[in-house]
């Protein structure tokens, strides 16, 4: 592990021993925080030593380091409450939100590493360029309800409840970061949506008012077949969304219905059910496509 210069907290940033004493247990302990510092030209872990304080989360410690040792440290954060999805990082190698990882859950006897999400391009230090996700978002066929019937739309409680879990997503992109399909095989970024967007697609495919059929699109354009259901996305999701069980596998089974199940195909023929919508038809409903159309019209 590349560890660069080591810095110890100077008097200005040191919390008073009294306040540490008030909080009890952690007083006197020194944290060895190894933060990734670097940009396009390379980087390394730099160790900062700061006194421990009770009740802190990793983001608090990173902020203290920023205040006392490294004013130029780049770190993204917003809410400190696990709701904005900005502070995603890898803490001791485990993808997690810095603001939701308590220091007390970490082994403070040895150094603690904080590194940026390794799947995305570096901007600086702990901040990555997550625009891949925004590009995928533009390619999701939008919610497309039928025109409202007289009296307006109605939805039943059971149908509304099902999508609730998916709407908890805070777009922290930890799942996108951990997914080995793009993490370890970057070329797949060109044709793979990733778990966060399978959550979105499942939500739309289960929406009681939606009229699109995204199954062909999910297979051909979003690449659901690349996922080998190894469940790391589910393991890291801070919102506890059962991404693999409730979104990805149901999508895979829907794709089987539309593409791989000869009995389902025969059933459609005999019962004269409509053929599955093609990927191109679904693609016409993405914001990328609709924006493209309006651009051309101008």
């Amino acid at each position: 592990m590349a560890v660069g210069t080591s810095q110890t907290e100077g008097p200005s940033g040191a919390p008073s021993p009294a306040s540490a004493g008030e909080h009890g247990t952690a007083s006197g302990e020194t944290l060895h925080m190894q933060l990734w510092r670097g940009d396009k030209d390379g980087g390394q872990f730099v160790e900062y030593q700061v006194p421990a304080q009770e009740g802190e989360v990793v983001l608090d410690v990173v902020h203290r380091i920023q205040a006392s040792h490294a004013p130029d440290l780049a770190v993204r954060w917003n809410c400190k409450a696990g709701k904005c999805g900005s502070c995603s990082a890898e803490i001791n190698g485990v993808p997690a939100l810095m603001c939701m990882t308590r220091m007390s859950t970490l082994d403070t006897a040895s150094p603690i590493t904080v590194s940026p999400m390794r799947t995305f391009p570096v901007l600086r230090d702990l901040v990555t360029d997550v625009s891949f996700n925004f590009e995928v978002a533009k390619l999701i066929p939008s919610f497309t309800p039928a025109p409202p019937p007289p009296g307006g739309y109605r939805m039943q409680q059971v149908d509304v409840e099902r999508g609730q879990e998916f709407r908890k997503c805070i777009e922290c992109f930890l799942c996108q970061n951990v997914c080995h399909v793009i993490r370890d095989h970057e070329e797949n970024k060109a044709h793979y949506a990733g778990p966060r967007f399978f959550v979105r697609l499942a939500e739309l495919e289960m929406h009681p008012l939606d009229t699109l059929d995204r199954r062909a699109y999910v297979r051909e354009r979003m690449g659901v077949g690349y996922c080998n259901i190894t469940k790391c996305c589910t393991e890291v999701c801070p919102e506890g969304i059962h991404i693999t069980d409730n979104a990805i596998i149901p999508l895979k089974e829907r794709v089987v219905d539309s593409r791989y199940d000869p009995v389902a195909w025969l059933g459609r023929k005999i019962l004269r059910r409509p053929a599955p919508m093609t990927a191109a038809e679904a693609a016409a409903h993405t914001s990328a496509a609709t924006r493209g159309v309006s651009d051309a019209a101008r």
């Binding site: 592990m1 980087g43 625009s131 891949f132 039943q156 370890d184 044709h191 077949g225």
Partner: protein, 289 residues
């Protein structure tokens, strides 16, 4: 089923090959024992496969009945590895199908293809062997083995989009067969209450009943089952019965699918071992009544 070209004509507009954040992927930053569970699961699966091979090729002592312990009324315990028993070497008491059975190979070799196919294509077992054996990935945020050398043998990855792994999409067909097998094992559990020409109960009977229950819990918690029974609906409110089955029965079982996968796997081996021990007169099957 055709091999399809999944790559779309228009790629997602994203820069590939730029400088990525953090240390190189070859550097494992995890400090916990991330290798422990994949290792245990690999050993567990290997142990089961080893046991299964021994049992399948044994071709004998899979029925604790007339050839079992003779001091009391004979039991009707047929090992789940050999059920349904339809070859000519099956004991007359246990044979299924046309009189005398068909063929002479070890019946287990014919029977096991279906439950094996079911488990091999099971979403849970897929996760386990992709992690434990393929090391793709070995654990979360630990790089796929072989993926960190550019241009190396395992630098490319196509997941389940190509032959042979695209065949995993046939899982629901194995599920249909698995339901029949669960029915057969249920029948065997009922048969285990038969002693001589009357009814009774031994320790073996209990083992068979637990076996059938666990097989049902595993089979009914299958993801394909969850989809077919109601999960595939867009509107639950249109199909209240299917919604109830989905919500009250299949989903609760599905949440513990991993647990039932292991319990039923271990128990099926144990049931076979018990039958073997009774059939070889190594132990005596205690009779409750």
């Amino acid at each position: 089923m055709s091999v399809v070209q999944e790559n779309p004509a228009v790629p997602i507009p994203v820069e590939i090959g730029g400088v990525r954040a953090g240390p190189p992927r070859s550097q494992i930053l995890r400090r916990d024992t991330w290798w422990f569970w994949p290792g245990v699961q690999a050993l567990g699966l290997l142990a089961f496969v080893g046991y299964g091979i021994w049992t399948a090729f044994r071709g004998d002592f899979y029925y604790a009945g007339t050839m079992g312990h003779v001091s009391s009324l004979p039991s009707h315990y047929l090992s789940p590895f050999y059920s349904p028993c339809f070859v000519s070497s099956c004991p007359t008491d246990a044979v299924w199908g046309p009189a005398g059975g068909i063929g002479t190979v070890s019946p287990a070799l014919l029977v096991l293809i279906f439950p094996m196919g079911f488990r091999v294509t099971c979403y849970y077992y897929r996760k386990t062997y992709y992690r434990s054996f393929w090391a793709s990935p070995p654990a979360c945020a630990v790089a796929d083995v072989g993926s960190t050398q550019p241009g190396g043998m395992r630098s490319k990855y196509s997941g389940e989009t190509r032959f042979p792994l695209i065949l995993q999409n046939a899982h629901r067909y194995f599920w249909y067969v698995a339901v029949i097998f669960a029915g057969i094992l249920t029948w065997d559990a009922i048969e285990a209450f038969r002693f001589g020409s009357g009814w009774g109960m031994g320790l073996g009977t209990l083992i068979f009943v637990v076996n059938a229950v666990l097989i049902w819990m595993y089979t009914a918690g299958c993801h394909a089952c969850r989809h077919l029974c109601g999960g595939g609906l867009r509107r639950f409110s249109n199909a209240p019965v299917r919604h109830t089955i989905w919500r009250r029965i299949v989903t609760p079982l599905n949440e513990h699918h991993q647990l039932y996968a292991w319990m039923s796997l271990i128990w099926i081996a144990w049931t076979d071992l018990y039958v073997y021990l009774v059939a070889t007169n190594t132990i005596h099957d205690p009779r409750f009544f």
